[in-house]
């Protein structure tokens, strides 16, 4: 990582206070207040148009805030933009590449822009090409790359230079699952070495895998900041009990279980023959499943409780907020 000396009082990677950005009368981000610790991965989640990219653009000095303040690595966002930009890395949501250059030259030129010495660039690029499995297209023109290959280049390229804080805006869109996991593990490795990450994504499994804490933003306002586990506990009320019978489906069983007070809904997955019962009390539903099965002469072949996912919690949070608004 880069030299860890930073501005005054910089035990936080980001300290945002009441950040607001308006476009005319439209409020894109309102009163955003949050902190990101050093070596923390901070996820930023929200539906389309919620204000994620505007927040990222403000923090990366592309857009000045209408009001509010922030310090990044101890530097003031309004007056020390240059100091901030020297210490951050940004993988934008949109493609960014130098057209007509091959992958290796493109990475080298990017490192040169950052003032990375030639011998350091050479070693680092070699390592990144190997880590991100880019050997087979290292000499291909950026114009001839597939979307996923170009994305891989864009993510890998950012690590040619040193930084203390990395902004990742939907970095894995277009990557296949193997490369995606490689990238996430590489991010984790860098975090262990001291990097802080501000991570924007729509893929909630990724957020759960990578992030220490998450902020959820909706209609420009941050509605929750907490760990993934706590968010699931707070908002993930609905769970699923999945079970099968040796005898296959039974319409009578579905009717009886649906009528029991502990179940919100029972669905049959025709392809797999599994029933899925939505409930907030799985511990009450399972005995009921066995009781009804015995009554109807059925034999339970499998049963398990599926955990609340972050996606469930996220949807519940956003829907709750939308309901509140209505």
């Amino acid at each position: 990582m880069a030299d860890t000396r930073s501005g005054v009082g910089s035990d936080l990677a980001i300290d945002a206070r009441h950040l607001t950005r308006k476009f005319g009368a439209k409020e894109a981000v309102v009163d955003a207040t949050f902190e990101v610790a050093q070596s923390e991965v901070f996820g930023f989640l929200g539906p389309n148009g919620a204000g994620k990219t505007t927040t990222t653009k403000m923090l990366t000095t592309l857009l000045p805030p209408t009001s509010g303040s922030a310090t990044l690595l101890g530097f003031d966002l309004r007056t020390q933009g240059r100091n901030i930009r020297e210490r951050i890395g940004v993988v934008q949501q949109q493609d960014s590449f130098d057209q007509g250059l091959n992958v290796e030259t493109s990475m080298d030129l990017y490192g040169l822009l950052w003032g990375v010495p030639k011998n350091v660039r050479k070693d680092r690029i070699g390592e990144l090409i190997e880590r991100f499995s880019m050997e087979e297209f290292r000499r291909m023109s950026t114009l001839d790359l597939s979307t996923g290959q170009r994305r891989r280049l864009q993510v890998a390229r950012e690590f040619v230079h040193e930084m203390d804080l990395l902004f990742l805006d939907e970095p894995t869109v277009g990557l296949d699952p193997i490369v995606r996991r490689t990238a996430l593990n590489y991010f984790k490795e860098k975090v262990r070495e001291g990097l802080s990450i501000f991570f924007t994504t729509h893929i909630l499994e990724e957020a759960e895998y990578l992030c220490d804490r998450l902020a959820v933003i909706n209609h420009g306002r941050i509605v929750e900041v907490d760990t993934p586990a706590n968010l699931k506990r707070k908002f993930g009320t609905a769970k699923e009990v999945e079970f099968r019978f040796l005898e296959g489906a039974s319409g009578e069983f579905q009717k009886l279980l649906s009528a029991s007070g502990e179940v919100d809904a029972v669905e049959l997955d025709v392809a797999s023959g599994a029933y899925r019962a939505k409930t907030s009390k799985p511990e009450a539903v399972i005995p009921e499943v066995y009781r009804l099965a015995e009554r109807l002469g059925l034999h339970v072949s499998s049963v398990y409780i599926s955990e609340t996912t972050l996606e469930d919690a996220f949807i519940s949070m956003i829907e709750g907020q939308e309901g509140g608004k209505r």
Binding site: L63, D95, L113
Partner: protein
């Protein structure tokens, strides 16, 4: 390495297509060697002032060198346009640079291309220009000033156009048309003073007229008081256009 050097080097490496550059050089050479000699037999010698008269191939050769100024200027717009299209504009602005450094690096890269291109065309045109050249120190300064100011003017025009026009096709066709108008209402191909109205009036507003006149005057030691007036006008036009380009550039939303 200095931030400007890094940015200029990057602009030259990343945004300039060698094939396009080659054909940009071919244009003026075509004018010099085909049009110049083609019309040379029917066009009489042309007077530049200061008692100097030169043949049409010579007249056109000097004009065609300044044509590379326009081509160099077009590159400024192309660089900005590609950076915006390919996401590199924002990527650079979140790096250790600011907008002023970025736009100045484009102008500097454009100057390098414009002046290097002009020198190359000049060298290739030497068989035509040959012993007619009467280049002295004042002439060199005049030629250098004309090329510098002309490149800044046309670079600024191209930057303003690339800010205003977001579609590739529109940018290409509009910039080609605009530069075509500049080219044919200047003194590159014919002496604008002998042209009928309103072409003559338009040519008096056209910076390429001043670039070309100053360039010829420097090359053939044909300094006149008119050229002495033209150079400051060219400087003023370049300054105004530069301000327009910077204002347009500042309006780009990220």
């Amino acid at each position: 390495m200095n931030a400007y050097v890094r940015l200029v080097y990057r602009n030259l490496r990343a945004n300039l297509d060698r094939v396009s550059l080659f054909f940009e050089l071919m244009f003026p050479l075509f004018f010099i060697f085909v049009q110049g000699y083609g019309f040379g037999g029917i066009v009489p010698d042309l007077h530049l002032g200061n008692g100097k008269a030169i043949s049409y191939p010579l007249y056109l050769a000097a004009g065609a060198v300044t044509l590379t100024v326009i081509n160099g200027g077009t590159n400024a717009g192309t660089q900005l346009w590609y950076d915006r299209k390919n996401g590199m504009f924002e990527q650079i602005l979140v790096g250790p640079f600011n907008r002023a450094q970025y736009i100045l690096s484009i102008i500097l890269a454009t100057l390098i291309i414009g002046i290097a291109g002009s020198l190359l065309v000049f060298l290739l045109a030497l068989p035509v220009l040959g012993y007619s050249l009467a280049l002295n120190l004042n002439g060199v300064l005049l030629v250098a000033s004309a090329l510098f100011l002309g490149t800044v003017f046309y670079g600024a025009v191209a930057i303003a156009l690339s800010v205003a026009l977001r579609s590739s096709e529109t940018f290409q066709i509009v910039s080609t048309f605009v530069f075509f108008v500049f080219l044919f209402t200047s003194s590159v191909f014919f002496p604008s003073g002998t042209a009928p109205e309103p072409i003559r009036t338009i040519s008096l507003l056209n910076p390429l007229t001043y670039t070309t006149d100053a360039f010829r005057a420097g090359l053939f030691d044909a300094w006149t008081p008119t050229v002495g007036l033209e150079l400051p006008v060219l400087g003023a036009e370049a300054a105004v256009m530069f301000v327009v380009a910077v204002l347009a550039f500042r309006r780009i939303r990220v």
